[in-house]
């Protein structure tokens, strides 16, 4: 690809993760000459489908699709480029006493199921989902907007602040108070306001800790719960689905859409440094020493990796560097990808129940989650971890050979740094064994069906994907790191202290999940700065 290095591109995007590709697509569609550089020899970042064992396909990082903004899917014509989302019915939580709680899309079935555990909770559920949807409706329009800088007097920022104020004002007094409370309270307290049954609360609090170094009792975890409800497939709020062919299908479709609009992707091209001349980004230098010139550089790497590794400190204000250093990107999640000889049986789930095709959990109390979090705080992986497990091959046969199955197991909590020294292969195996044993307690034949298991710690995810500490959100979703604080106060509008250098990853508003909003917002900011349209 020597040719690439001669030509000066309009834009170089560092990292072919989903946000990088989304940003690239929007910019290419606006007529810019865009080159995406990916350090791995495959694209996708954390949205990949990998064949690591025989004919099994692993979505070995992100594993379900929900948050991807529908407007992005439409604008970039992702279905045309092969993206197919298959919704699945809500999952279940198995209980240590052999019982279970299943979630169904069918409202009556769900009510019947909830009232098995508590009549009151069945009544409360409608209020719960109504309030959640209300909050999501309030937040959603903000996802695809650039957060204002509350300290600025620029008309744009003042207008945007006014817009936010107006939106808040329009929900009405009581809702405003609810919003203030939901955004700041803990998931446990939030759920206490609706439900009484431990198992119901345990099931719903799951999404408040996924990817987060918080427990369900930590204030702010209710927001993380909301964040996970923000997705909508076919306009049903909070719906989840599989990408046919694994999560790699999302980024493959994005790459297809990019090529169709004239952009190109170059893999196995790790960027070493951002090229900066007279305070302006001029391109990048690859690990090979090759220099590639561009007028604009968009980094899809997280904010720490971008500014602590790829930009020389002399180009950055000291305050900014301190703030980046203090940005919290914590590794708290692990992942197991398992090839199975057959579908495991779970005695807790009634035979033929659809929930085995959804997300399955084995943590039946909030206290159990808190104890799992306590382990993380002490630098240990959870002795009794929270798992979010799915067997996509039941719905998408392309993931595994006939009769065989692929199981994705997301694990909370697993620390990036262990109290007793660095990760070793032995410790990785021990971590995997802890998770497998925990699952085996609910499935007698599970262990005997395992053909291959890929065990990924935060440390592995950092090294393979490039996410600092393997944090799936490129930064904690806490109050101090949301909206105009994300990633750094004063730099929440995708621009950076270096002219011509932008951020497009989940370190920026509105944060993580395979959502694409940060990439789209970043592209709009670049285009606006180039005088090619405004930021809305």
């Amino acid at each position: 690809m020597a040719a690439a290095s001669q030509r000066r591109h309009d834009v170089i995007v560092i990292g072919a993760g989903h946000n990088g590709l989304v940003a690239a697509c929007y910019m290419a569609r606006a007529g810019l000459d865009v080159l995406v550089l990916e350090r791995n020899d495959y694209i996708g970042g954390a949205a990949v489908s990998r064949k690591l064992y025989e004919d099994f396909t692993y979505s070995n990082c992100s594993y379900v699709c929900s948050l991807l903004r529908p407007e992005i899917m439409r604008t970039l014509e992702l279905p045309r480029f092969g993206l197919q989302i298959i919704p699945y019915e809500g999952g279940c939580t198995m209980m240590r006493d052999g019982g279970h709680l299943a979630l169904y899309d069918n409202h009556d079935a769900l009510r019947r199921e909830l009232s098995r555990h508590s009549k009151r909770d069945a009544e409360a559920y409608d209020r719960f989902s109504r309030d959640i949807i209300r909050q999501c409706k309030f937040i959603k329009p903000l996802l695809m907007r650039e957060p204002p800088d509350p300290t600025s007097f620029k008309p744009r920022d003042l207008m945007e602040l006014l817009y936010l104020g107006q939106r808040l004002y329009n929900v009405g007094e009581q809702r405003m108070y609810d919003t203030i409370r939901f955004w700041t309270m803990s998931a446990a307290d939030f759920l206490d306001e609706y439900f009484e049954s431990e198992i119901v609360k345990a099931h719903f609090s799951g999404s408040s800790i996924i990817g987060t170094a918080l427990g369900p009792r930590s204030p702010g975890s209710a927001y993380v719960l909301l964040h996970h409800y923000m997705g909508d497939i076919d306009e049903t709020v909070g719906a989840w689905g599989f990408a046919r062919g694994g999560m790699g299908a999302v980024t493959a479709a994005l790459a297809g859409s990019l090529q169709a609009s004239g952009g190109s992707v170059r893999t196995a091209a790790p960027v070493e440094q951002v090229l900066i001349r007279n305070g302006r980004a001029r391109g990048v230098v690859l690990a090979s020493g090759e220099e590639i010139e561009a007028n604009t550089v968009v980094s899809n790497m997280d904010v720490k990796r971008t500014f602590l590794k790829a930009v020389a400190p002399e180009h950055l204000p000291e305050d900014f560097l301190t703030a980046v250093g203090r940005f919290k990107i914590r590794g708290s999640s692990g992942k197991l990808n398992i090839a199975l000889d057959g579908l495991p049986t779970f005695p807790a789930i009634p035979a033929g129940a659809p929930c085995i095709r959804g997300d399955m959990h084995i943590t039946d109390t909030i206290a159990m989650m808190e104890r799992a979090y306590d382990d993380w705080k002490e630098g240990r992986w959870s002795a009794a971890p929270y798992v979010d497990m799915l067997v996509p091959s039941q719905i998408d046969p392309t993931m595994a050979p006939d009769g065989k199955h692929y199981m994705s197991v997301f694990v909370q909590y697993c620390p990036y740094e262990l109290a007793d020294g660095p990760w070793t292969d032995a410790k990785r195996q021990a971590f995997g064994a802890t998770v497998i044993d925990a699952i085996a307690r609910q499935s007698p034949d599970f262990k005997s069906l395992i053909r291959h298991a890929e065990i990924r710690t935060p440390w592995d995810i950092e090294n393979e994907v490039g996410l600092t500490e393997g944090n799936i959100f490129q930064g904690e979703l806490t109050m101090d790191q949301l909206l105009f604080n994300r990633p750094v106060p004063g730099y929440a509008q995708y621009r950076t202290p270096v002219r011509g250098l932008y951020l497009s990853g989940s370190s920026t508003h509105p944060g993580g999940g395979v959502m694409g909003a940060p990439g789209a917002n970043a592209a709009r900011r670049v285009l606006a700065d180039l005088g090619r349209g405004d930021t809305r």
Binding site: E173, Y177, D189, D192, E193, S218, P219, R326, M479
Partner: protein, 523 residues
């Protein structure tokens, strides 16, 4: 009933410090005020009592550091007999078997860590700037959101303006740290575990959170804000214990014409034609007044004294979920000699002594309370009131008063069985920091949140009537619909720590409630 036949305009249920401030303020404005106190003495949580023959102690709060100097002067408490045994008390972090650290002592800090000594002045100055901003917010009543009242819009506007006046740099930092947790804040700034531990404990004293909980920087700033308003007096020890503050407040109220009846527990609030009409005592005696102000916590007021039947279900649900279960216990020791806290100077022994050797120590102490266990290694705020006020104990003897965290309201196994074990754990920690202390103990009293609920009639035995956290703060404290002292029931008001700005012997809630009542009467 016509006003002439009703001897009182206002009845205040509860003679806690807020109730008394409220009474004094209203009486000075010419209202005929009756204060009804269930206990034998006034003061509620700000009270001095004998806990062992000849030994007296501040049974609740044991230091005065949050009551605005302005309020103390406004009510002329000095003239009404309030004296201070000591003011400007230091805070010292204790380390078992190692040198203690006085917070703010640059030289001592430098000996531990040069980096911390460099960071401290900047950190301290910045947080105090933030605290001053926050104090403006604490002193004024919380506005309503989305109301068309200009007073509310003005209050919000003022807040925005004050933020802007911080300047770009400070404003950005304020908007970032305010949502943070104390553990990260102090870890970003400092390396000395003792310093980080002490600051962490200050951030969580009296609330059911560990230092890693987001929002604990708010509680840390809250404490600083109130202290900054206390002026030069800062951390002060009233002569005769905290009861002396309440006594002075009571004298100020009666001098202004208010009537105070003790041993007169209110059973319920009387309602006539959809408004508060007075109260009924447990004795059955009925007392009429057009305005009833409750110094009791939100749950007691709405669910016990008034009753859900007068409120809509949504409101009742919110009150029900107001987090009001305390996790703070109180230890009182009568000792035959001054405890020898290793390396602590005489000056330090007269002040606040903290047992919180590291931020992780405090977090671990909290972990237990999540599972309804008491902390195996509790964190402590210790005072030795007899150092400055020998009259509280027989000659040569001393009193140790300690705030102990964490102790759940209802531990697994029940306090009956657990209390002796918990006392052992607390004494174990004390002994480690003051070798020989155990042998000097003449009498010990440990008040768990359950005991505090009984003694002070606060549901949950919570110091602040309810956790201080963003979701129970400012315009949502205690619950939307009762956050401006008035309640869904006409003529009924709240004046206690359940209201903004919350707990601590501050008196602001009492004063703001009084002003609210006067303002509504003026309309």
């Amino acid at each position: 009933m016509s006003a002439a036949t009703v001897p009182f305009d206002v009845i205040i249920a509860g003679a806690g410090h807020n109730g008394l401030v409220c009474a004094a303020t209203l009486a000075r404005a010419g209202r005929r005020v009756l204060v009804l106190e269930a206990g034998a003495t006034v003061g509620g949580c700000a009270v001095t009592r004998e806990f062992a023959p000849g030994f007296r102690v501040s049974a609740g709060a044991h230091l005065l550091h949050q009551m605005p100097a302005g309020l103390i002067d406004e009510l002329g408490l000095a003239a009404h007999g309030l004296e201070f045994a000591a003011t400007g008390l230091p805070t010292t972090a204790l380390a078992a078997g190692a040198a203690p650290l006085e917070i703010g002592d640059a030289a001592a800090l430098a000996r531990r860590s040069a980096a911390d000594a460099r960071a401290w002045p900047l950190y301290d100055a910045r947080l105090r700037r933030f605290a001053r901003l926050l104090h403006g917010l604490l002193a004024a009543p919380a506005p309503r959101l989305g109301s068309d009242a200009w007073s509310d819009r003005l209050a919000l506007g003022k807040l925005g303006l004050k933020l802007r006046l911080l300047g770009k740099r400070d404003m950005r930092e304020f908007l970032r740290v305010i949502g943070m947790n104390a553990y990260d804040l102090v870890t970003d700034e400092f390396e000395s575990p003792l310093l980080k531990g002490a600051l962490s404990l200050d951030a969580v004293l009296g609330t059911n959170f560990g230092p890693r909980a987001p929002g604990t920087v708010l509680t840390l700033l809250y404490r600083l804000a109130a202290e900054s308003a206390a002026g030069p007096r800062a951390l002060a020890q009233p002569k005769g214990g905290m009861g002396a503050v309440s006594q002075a407040l009571a004298r100020a109220a009666t001098a202004a014409g208010a009537t105070i009846r003790t041993a007169a527990p209110v059973a319920r609030i009387a309602v006539r034609e959809d408004r508060a009409a007075g109260v009924v005592l447990e004795s059955g005696e009925e007392l009429a007044a057009g305005t009833v102000i409750s110094n009791a916590d939100a749950k007691t007021t709405f669910l016990k004294l008034l009753g859900p039947e007068y409120l809509d279900t949504g409101f009742v649900r919110r009150v029900d979920h107001f987090r009001s279960r305390g996790v703070t216990a109180k230890l009182h020791l009568a000792v035959d000699r001054l405890p020898a806290f290793g390396g602590a100077s005489p000056r330090a022994l007269g002040g606040r002594l903290l047992v919180a050797p590291s931020a992780d120590y405090v977090e671990r102490a909290w972990n237990h309370s999540k599972y309804l266990e008491w902390s195996a290694q509790p964190a402590l705020e210790i005072t030795l009131p007899t150092v400055h006020d020998p009259a509280l104990a027989p000659a040569g003897r001393h009193v140790l008063s300690a705030i102990v965290q964490y102790a759940p309201f209802a531990p697994e196994g029940g306090w009956q069985a657990q209390k002796p074990l918990f006392l052992e754990a607390v004494l174990g920690v004390l002994e480690a920091h003051a070798p020989g202390l155990r042998d000097s103990i003449l009498a010990a009293e440990l008040s768990t949140p359950a005991d505090l609920e009984r003694e002070f009639r606060m549901s949950g035995g919570h110091w602040h009537h309810g956790d201080l956290a963003f979701d129970q703060f400012y315009m949502v404290r205690p619950v939307p619909g009762a956050a401006q002292h008035s309640t869904p029931l006409a003529g009924l008001y709240l004046c206690g720590a359940s209201c903004h700005p919350g707990g601590g012997v501050m008196g602001i809630a009492g004063r703001n409630a009084a002003h609210r009542v006067l303002a509504e009467a003026a309309r």
